[in-house]
């Protein structure tokens, strides 16, 4: 093992310059920016910086606050006890989220390089961690932009009256509606048939849908436009992508709370079910939500912090970003549940109206006589007066329940593109609400994409080999082009099934492992005391004992626990299954993954996790041969 002085040395292979280089007569001491801390004789490269600390804060917020806050957190809240889920959530935020976020920002700010360079600086055996982060970011960027594609598609379709997902198309001879649309609902039909044109199973690949392909190209062009100049352009874009979602959420909050039936949803959500606190799944899901929501381990946070001034107080920023992230999740939960309440009440009243119509027609009662309030008494009266006829009609009478409408918990694309659109189509001036909503989804997604793009580009532009051949614009262009080409896979008819594979498996296990290795590397390989003194010299503040305790003991234990849980979950489930859309029945059915899909899953997980041991082994072999 090398001596600490050599390990913590120089970025890339900068040579040690002697004191007072003859090549550079004109050196200005006044050009020192901040407390420039470097190793003896090291030469610092010119590195782009954020225009002001606000830009750094905004890009972290824009990266962390993404679609997961809007469509995953409300689902978890609903599943694990409503108001009482906030307890494990906040505890995990303080115990896991803040320390790990601070660690990544501190590493980036100290090492002042992208993920690969930063971990290579800590130990050459650990540069695999940086490469694994790069691979994970790459995989995430390939599939994440497909969500932006769908947001763009829905956004462009919002400029019509009536909204295309509010009415079913007509069948051949115009006497009724399309069969698939009748069996499902118009919003589901628009999502599964018009947007995805989904095939019945993952084996049937179908053709590339040209409409989706166009929208995907546009989405990648927008990403390229935002990242092509590096921090210069990204720093300006994040003012917009970080603030617009909040504006829309506030507008939706006001609108949502004034909707008829919104209070039903809010009461349902906030009544705490204390029993759920005893369920270990609630705690595990709170931990995973905090972990993945902050974007740890992707290399993005390290990249952002590397463009910081060394004296920047990243502790303060870490706390602010994690609090903003969690409050946004809770805030969007309120909005989502008022919308849920509206939708559930609307459906419940529709159901009641259908029952009323059925009874009115069967018994030829006066129109308007039956209302929701006297329904039960009239039903009893009819049952007693016309027993035979009533028993004929009885099987068709549905039991309408507000509870069961509220109980339908949905997450992910189903929430955003089916449930929300269903609620929006029933609001007045639905085009306006639709445009606002999908614009918000687009900016949330773009914020995360820009962050992921920066995470990929920073190590590439830091590398001397690549940046000497190609300018920054060309590197970003190439990355976007490759991603777009691979992303065409998701525009095929079976594309949504492949999307689910990437969404569930590309990042989950790998990120846990990466962050675990990161924490152990900083605490035990680099040395916690050394890191502490580095930070103190760099920022001027002493490191609180709380962070040290968390980094050294609690967070690694938590991550190992999560890791074990995930692995055992996969092993116990046996064969992995997926939800396929059955057009003939109008709902999803569960199917097994074919062997080649399982192979792809294995490849996804292995491609990033194997980087760490393989690169360590490779470095060891290279040094061994060099010594010889």
């Amino acid at each position: 093992m090398e001596s600490p002085a050599h390990v913590a040395s120089l970025p890339e292979d900068e040579e040690l310059q002697p004191w007072g280089s003859p090549r550079c007569p004109g050196q200005h001491p006044g050009r020192l920016e901040g407390a420039e801390y470097a190793e003896p004789g090291a030469r610092e490269k010119a590195r782009p910086k954020w225009g002001n600390p606000m830009q750094f804060l905004l890009i972290c917020v824009s990266y962390a606050v993404g679609l997961g806050n809007v469509w995953r957190f409300p689902y978890l809240c609903q599943m694990y006890g409503g108001g009482s889920f906030l307890v494990p959530y906040i505890i995990m935020l303080i115990v896991e989220g803040m320390p790990l976020l601070y660690l990544e920002l501190a590493v980036g700010q100290r090492m002042r390089q992208g993920s690969i360079g930063a971990w290579r600086t800590i130990s050459p055996y650990l540069s695999g961690v940086g490469i694994a982060s790069l691979v994970v970011s790459f995989l995430v960027s390939v599939y994440y932009n497909v969500i932006n594609t769908w947001a763009v598609w829905y956004l462009f379709h919002s400029f019509q009256d009536p909204l295309p997902w509010s009415v079913c198309p007509l069948n051949g001879n115009r006497t009724g509606y399309d069969e698939e649309c009748e069996k499902a609902s118009s919003t589901q039909y628009f999502w599964y048939r018009k947007t995805l044109n989904i095939s019945p199973s993952i084996q049937e690949n179908g053709n590339v849908q040209w409409e989706s392909a166009l929208c995907l190209t546009l989405a990648w062009l927008i990403v390229y436009l935002c990242i092509l100049r590096g921090t210069e352009s990204t720093g300006k874009v994040v003012y917009f992508t970080a603030s617009l979602p909040y504006c829309v959420l506030i507008i939706y909050l006001v609108r949502g709370l004034t909707l008829h039936g919104a209070t039903n949803g809010l009461v349902y959500m906030f009544t705490p079910k204390i029993k759920e606190l005893a369920n270990p799944k609630a705690w595990i899901n709170a931990a995973t939500q905090i972990f993945f929501s902050l974007g740890l381990g992707c290399g993005g946070l390290i990249a952002f912090a590397s463009y910081n001034e060394p004296s920047n107080n990243c502790q303060k920023h870490a706390i602010i970003v994690s609090i903003i992230n969690s409050s946004t999740a809770i805030f969007s939960c309120i909005v989502t549940f008022s919308i849920y309440g509206f939708k559930a009440t609307f459906n419940y009243e529709n159901c009641l109206n259908k029952v009323i119509l059925l009874l009115t027609n069967s018994f030829d009662l006066e129109d308007g006589f039956l209302t929701a309030s006297n329904l039960e008494e009239v039903k009893d009266y009819l049952a007693s007066t016309y027993p035979s006829k009533y028993s004929e009609v009885f099987p068709h009478i549905r039991n309408c329940s507000l509870e069961s409408e509220l109980n339908t918990a949905v997450q992910g694309t189903g929430l955003a593109f089916i449930v929300y659109t269903e609620a929006i189509k029933n609001m007045e001036v639905s085009q306006l609400w639709s445009v606002l909503y999908f614009f918000m989804l687009l900016t949330l997604g773009m914020g995360s994409m820009v962050g992921t793009g920066t995470a990929i580009l920073t190590p590439l532009t830091d590398s001397k080999v690549i940046s000497s051949y190609l300018p920054k614009e060309a590197i970003s262009g190439l990355v976007c082009l490759v991603n777009c080409a691979i992303g065409m896979l998701f525009t095929m008819e079976a594309g949504n099934y492949w999307f689910d594979i990437f969404n569930d498996y590309a990042a989950t296990l790998s990120l846990l492992l990466i962050v675990l290795v990161e924490t152990i590397a900083v605490c035990y390989v680099y040395g916690l005391k050394r890191f502490e003194s580095d930070l103190q010299a760099m920022t001027g503040h002493a490191l609180n004992w709380y962070w040290k305790a968390m980094w050294a003991f609690v967070s690694p234990v938590l991550i190992v626990g999560l890791f074990i849980f995930y692995l055992s979950d996969y092993i116990l489930t046996g064969t992995l299954q997926y939800q396929a859309w059955d057009a003939t029945q109008g709902h999803v059915v569960t199917k097994d993954y074919p062997p080649y899909a399982l192979a792809v899953i294995g490849l996804l997980v292995a491609s990033s996790t194997m980087c760490i041991p393989l690169v360590a082994l490779g470095t060891f072999v290279k040094r061994h041969f060099r010594k010889k």
């Binding site: 310059q17 004191w19 007072g20 280089s21 090549r23 550079c24 007569p25 004109g26 050196q27 200005h28 001491p29 050009r31 020192l32 420039e36 801390y37 470097a38 003896p40 004789g41 090291a42 030469r43 610092e44 490269k45 010119a46 598609w153 462009f156 379709h157 400029f159 019509q160 009536p162 009415v167 198309p169 007509l170 115009r174 006497t175 009724g176 509606y177 166009l214 929208c215 546009l218 062009l221 927008i222 390229y224 436009l225 092509l228 100049r229 352009s233 009115t360 027609n361 030829d364 009662l365 006066e366 129109d367 308007g368 300018p471 920054k472 614009e473």
Partner: protein, 222 residues
């Protein structure tokens, strides 16, 4: 004298028009659902109007121009409001085939609905499916227009940024060809040792003190 005739007519009427009769159709109206407070009461005058509308629809059929209001028979009016109707031929002995009545009503459904301020849902003819209005289908889908606009804006903005970057780099290269490298490196780099900058003297802007160094006397003259 007239009574037997009256009974005969009612008997025939009852024979031709009763629930589930041949070629009879049930009609159901939901006036209060459609109009709320402005709902009108269904009385015999409204029934007369209905019969007139049905007769009007039948008169539009090429072979049935002689249909009169009296040929349309209504029966079993309930409180719902629902009733059955048939259309008889001029001899009043048989009813017209259901297919003809069906097609006639379908053709003029809109006029019939409007006469009663109702729509397809609130004025139902059971067993006569209504022709649904096709959705508006513009020649170029609207989303493609929006897509085209946004796409062009993004392409133009990207091209501007890329071109300005290229021009900036070319200007830099042209301005300082040889010194560019060294100048760039030196401008922003500081040689540092132990946290102290190595060159505290501002040699660029400083003066050379001739008292200490003169080129001529570097070597002591013999």
């Amino acid at each position: 004298m007239l009574w037997p005739l009256f009974f005969l007519v009612t008997a025939i009427h009852a024979e031709l028009c009763h629930p589930d009769a041949e070629n009879a159709f049930k009609v159901r109206l939901s006036i209060r659902t459609a109009l709320g407070d402005k709902a009108y009461v269904w009385d015999t005058n409204e029934e007369y109007l209905f019969r007139a509308m049905v007769a009007f629809s039948m008169r539009k059929v090429p072979s049935r121009e002689a249909t009169e209001i009296s040929h349309v028979l209504l029966c079993n009016v309930t409180q719902r409001v629902s009733f059955w109707f048939v259309v008889t031929d001029p001899s009043r002995n048989h009813t017209l085939p259901a297919v003809e009545v069906q097609s006639a009503i379908r053709m003029n459904r809109n006029r019939i609905n409007n006469a009663f301020f109702l729509n397809d849902r609130t004025l139902e003819f059971l067993r006569i499916p209504s022709t649904l209005a096709p959705p508006m289908d513009p020649s170029v889908p609207i989303w493609i227009i929006v897509f085209g606009v946004i796409f062009c804006i993004v392409i133009v903005a990207t091209a501007l940024l890329v071109l300005s970057g290229i021009r900036h780099r070319r200007r830099n290269n042209k301005g300082l060809p040889g010194l560019d490298d060294a100048e760039d490196k030196c401008e922003n780099t500081i040689t540092v040792e132990n946290g102290i900058p190595c060159d505290p003297l501002d040699t660029k802007g400083g003066h050379i003190n001739d008292g200490f160094l003169t080129e001529d006397e570097r070597l002591t003259p013999l």
